[in-house]
């Protein structure tokens, strides 16, 4: 049985979320500057106007997740509490 810690789970979730938001940030950025390519690749789903909307708002979760990603190791410095998954 795998065992994990609550802080470990939180940190891992934040890492993956940060990765997802970073990739989305990249894709929407290209959806603005290289909209012809991105529109084709996404089968017309990510249009330039949608890319602009998303890109304009993604910086907020990006900054929050980045700050958490940097700060959490310092917050959970104590001995981790183990839980069963």
């Amino acid at each position: 049985m795998r065992r994990a810690t609550v802080p470990g789970l939180v940190r891992r979730t934040i890492h993956w979320l940060l990765l997802a938001v970073t990739i989305l940030f990249l894709i929407t950025g290209f959806g603005i500057s290289e909209f012809r390519v991105v529109e084709n690749i996404t089968l017309g789903w990510l249009t330039k106007s949608w890319a602009l909307r998303l890109h304009d708002n993604l910086w907020i979760p990006f900054v929050v997740l980045l700050v958490l990603h940097i700060c959490l190791p310092f917050v959970f410095k104590g001995k981790p509490k183990e839980v069963e998954l």
Partner: protein
């Protein structure tokens, strides 16, 4: 192990983004206006970078963001059509527009929704002069511009006439390069860049006040005023 993969993936994503941004942020230079010689030995015109004490951007400072890439219009067969709700529909060659109408110059800044802007000295003819010749019917409320690549956009007739809107054929004292909209680009001052239609081939007068052009139909504001957001209906 998972953490290592995560960290590696995040690092790779950031490196990739930096690389792509670096590659994407380098607009290609336009050969026109670099002081090179033509076949007959005469010098190519060189763009000016200052006008009446005001600094100008370069023709190379634009980013290519047209819907089908740069268009290369065959000027020998080019005709500018004035159609729709007008008394006198007309069709002009490039030379007929240039030689038949008074020229005006203006320094106007183009602001793109992508976040960049360029300050350029434009020279062209007034759209209102072209319209006056065609005599719009009273019910004509909107001017729809059509481009060589199928792009369209529209502006109210009142905006065109009240603001002395230019259709430019020169920028920074050189002829409009093909990549910048040769033969004509609309100088839609105080409007977002998607109203600055390039490669204009037709000007249509319409009574359809709800007409939406290419980007407007895809979620961009139809008024496109710079002091308002560009997203939304």
């Amino acid at each position: 192990m998972v953490r290592k993969i995560t960290n590696l993936a995040v690092t790779l994503a950031m490196l990739l983004s930096a690389l792509l941004l670096a590659l994407g942020g380098c607009p290609g230079d336009i050969t026109n206006g670099n002081g090179e010689t033509n076949g007959d030995g005469s010098l190519e015109p060189v763009e000016v970078r200052e006008y009446q004490g005001e600094n100008l951007s370069s023709v190379n400072d634009f980013r290519e963001n047209s819907i089908k890439g740069p268009q290369y219009v065959d000027i020998e067969n080019y005709q500018l059509e004035i159609t729709g709700l007008v008394e006198n529909p007309a069709s002009y060659s490039y030379d007929e527009v240039i030689e038949g109408y008074k020229h005006y110059k203006k320094v106007v800044t183009l602001n793109c929704v992508e976040g960049w802007s360029v300050n350029i000295l434009w020279e062209g003819v007034l759209v209102s002069d072209l319209l006056a010749e065609a005599k719009p019917l009273p019910e004509a409320k909107v001017v729809i511009f059509h481009a060589y690549d199928g792009y369209t956009t529209s502006l109210p007739v009142d905006y065109i006439t009240d603001n002395d809107i230019l259709m430019a054929y020169m920028m920074n004292e050189i002829p409009l390069p093909p990549e910048r909209g040769f033969p004509f680009e609309l100088v839609a001052e105080s409007k977002w860049g998607y109203k600055w239609i390039k490669w204009v081939t037709a000007i249509e007068l319409s009574d359809d006040v709800d007409y939406r052009g290419y980007w407007e139909d895809r979620g961009f504001s139809n008024t496109a005023d710079l002091d308002e957001g560009f997203l939304g209906r």
